[in-house]
Symmetry: C2
Subunit: 414 residues, 2 copies
Amino acid sequence: MSQQAKDVRDGPPGALEGVRVLDFSHALAGPYSTMILADMGADILKVEHPGGGDRTRRYTDGDENFSPYFSSVNRGKNSLVLDIKQPAGRELAHRLVQQADVVVQNMGPGVAERVGLGYEELSALNPRLIYAVVTGFGRDGPWADRVGVDPLIQALSGSMSIVGEPGGSPLRVGYSVVDLVGGLYLAVGMLGALNERHTSGKGQLLDISLMEAQMALMENAVVRYLATGKVPQPVGSAHPYQTLTRAYEAQDGWVMATLSVRNFRAACEVWGHREWLADADLQARPETRTEELVPELQKIFRTQTRQYWIDKLVPVGVKCMPVNTIAEALETPPIVERGFIQHTEDANGRKLRIAGSPLRLSRTPGRVRKAAPVLGEHNRSSLREWLGMGDEEYARYEAQGIFKQVDPKIRGFW
Amino acid sequence: MSQQAKDVRDGPPGALEGVRVLDFSHALAGPYSTMILADMGADILKVEHPGGGDRTRRYTDGDENFSPYFSSVNRGKNSLVLDIKQPAGRELAHRLVQQADVVVQNMGPGVAERVGLGYEELSALNPRLIYAVVTGFGRDGPWADRVGVDPLIQALSGSMSIVGEPGGSPLRVGYSVVDLVGGLYLAVGMLGALNERHTSGKGQLLDISLMEAQMALMENAVVRYLATGKVPQPVGSAHPYQTLTRAYEAQDGWVMATLSVRNFRAACEVWGHREWLADADLQARPETRTEELVPELQKIFRTQTRQYWIDKLVPVGVKCMPVNTIAEALETPPIVERGFIQHTEDANGRKLRIAGSPLRLSRTPGRVRKAAPVLGEHNRSSLREWLGMGDEEYARYEAQGIFKQVDPKIRGFW
């Protein structure tokens, strides 16, 4: 069921058809939020600086001229290279702002204001504009001038302190959970504001702090600490409430088994430990005996394969699933048969398979609409679509050098 | 700046003022999505079954009659106890559906249809209805009848295979990332559909698979594998691209340091290893020497405190942050001074501090509007508000036993 979506006009419309987003963000949180909006059919104009554009274009994996990282997160968007530091570039940016529903940026502290793209200035140009900023610690407040990137906030927020083996080293989640969840909250905030604008006719400022978004994700660890004073600790592969629910190592890999007081009795039979049934306390509250049980169970699980345990335990009410690699996960029936992986081909003919959209809306499904843009691919077409700009006017702007790409090694853009 | 928000009418309005959500979901993904909508001012009517309601009401931490878990995720909502299996209960549910903008449910496979709350039936009653379902593996497809809860999907999706020490055991993220991200995608989908309805006037079905939402979160691991064929591995505390960016253990705890080719030279001076500056290859591509460098750096970091390294390295361009506990994270200036932690007090006088909303919209800020409901707290008031139901009519329904609470140990509700 996978599809090759070269053109935004193929297939059903999206829920955000007609919504125009001017996207000055780079790296991950901002681009992930506009990826979500693009999958829902919004028109995303990614404004990139002349020095190579979004730096994740240079996060290559083997092929030096192609970034799977960039191409996954920026599918379905249009790219405009624009030097906003030149007066003509700024003027053009302001013309685009007047046509935009949403502006997104994650520039450093004070940069947007310096280049003429601050909230006050843009909302005066377009009072219906929703202006979204994502920063490490918030647009105001005591750390407004500090940079907070994903690894730093995984550390600072306490996430690393509750990911790991009990007593072991603190660990980063193996994906950029801070940036991605920040991107999801950005999308939620922008959509909430768009919804509100239908009534009020007014735009507003959205100020997302990655630190706050991450702490909102960890709301349970936060409330457990604030309610009990006990500092949450890493729990390995276990669930913090159902402590026997964890990964057990079988002969050929790991299985996750959800064990609770409800299914423990039946599992004892499968494990060949009927004598445990005689222990009334163990039957009533098996979780209180986690420390002594886990090494015993680990021994039992090692005697057979993953599939053996799944076949024996699932029928008696113990839900079990293999601990898959990413490769194995992509081969599972629900991923394969619902056509979750999508194919793209960009303007240079580079083909790629990427994760699709989970936003399965019946009339306006989220979907990958086309490949990520080559740098500057849509300079002419987007200016024509957004501003009705003809070739002559385009040539006049071009002559001022505001579309000209320069060496990515030159720093100091945004 | 913390606030006691006993009443939804205190403070500025939300972006979703006037949006009515009938919420049949329990546990985490569904409730997290409606928590986000409640923080944005939507009117959430949480319909709970008579056998104790949402089972997370019984996830207590010390105090047997109070669940911080439930109270954090269900703040700002109203609770209606309703036996939808009785004809009068079902009829009342249908009357509420006719007033709703959104219905959310995460009932088991086929349950909603059996109790008269399936999509076809409800959308016929209310064509403007947005009907959101969250399941483990999708509402259709090969695993539509399987239960997929957070720990199982952390295993199956490959998340556990990339969280952990290299060569170590697979680990669960220490919070229910699958459910929470599923909840965020639910919120995004519902908001997208609400936005689209302003134009079309029509509702639709939203079908969120937790498995797909989690794979969409891990899009980078997915694309890296699909582009290169290399199966992503756990990387401990390191960033998969910037492999020297990781946590290092100091005398009194861990620090996260973001090391790259840009700041490595300056860091060598701080570490007292000027001889490394003479190694041209090390200077040009320090990341390729990660394996030999990390043990050396680990030795160096252990000689001083966290604060020492932060004070020395930050000025030379190496961003560093302490690896905090949850307790320490809550004391950081951006969390304290932006008033992120909110206070609530419920109808039983239970006070609680919980994580607030990161949805800082300037005119319609997301915020905790009131405490989580006591079970059935809003039976009378919500039926009055949604249906204009007077005392006499309420009494007639009540006489049929559809509001009567029963022992939570009785199973088989939904």
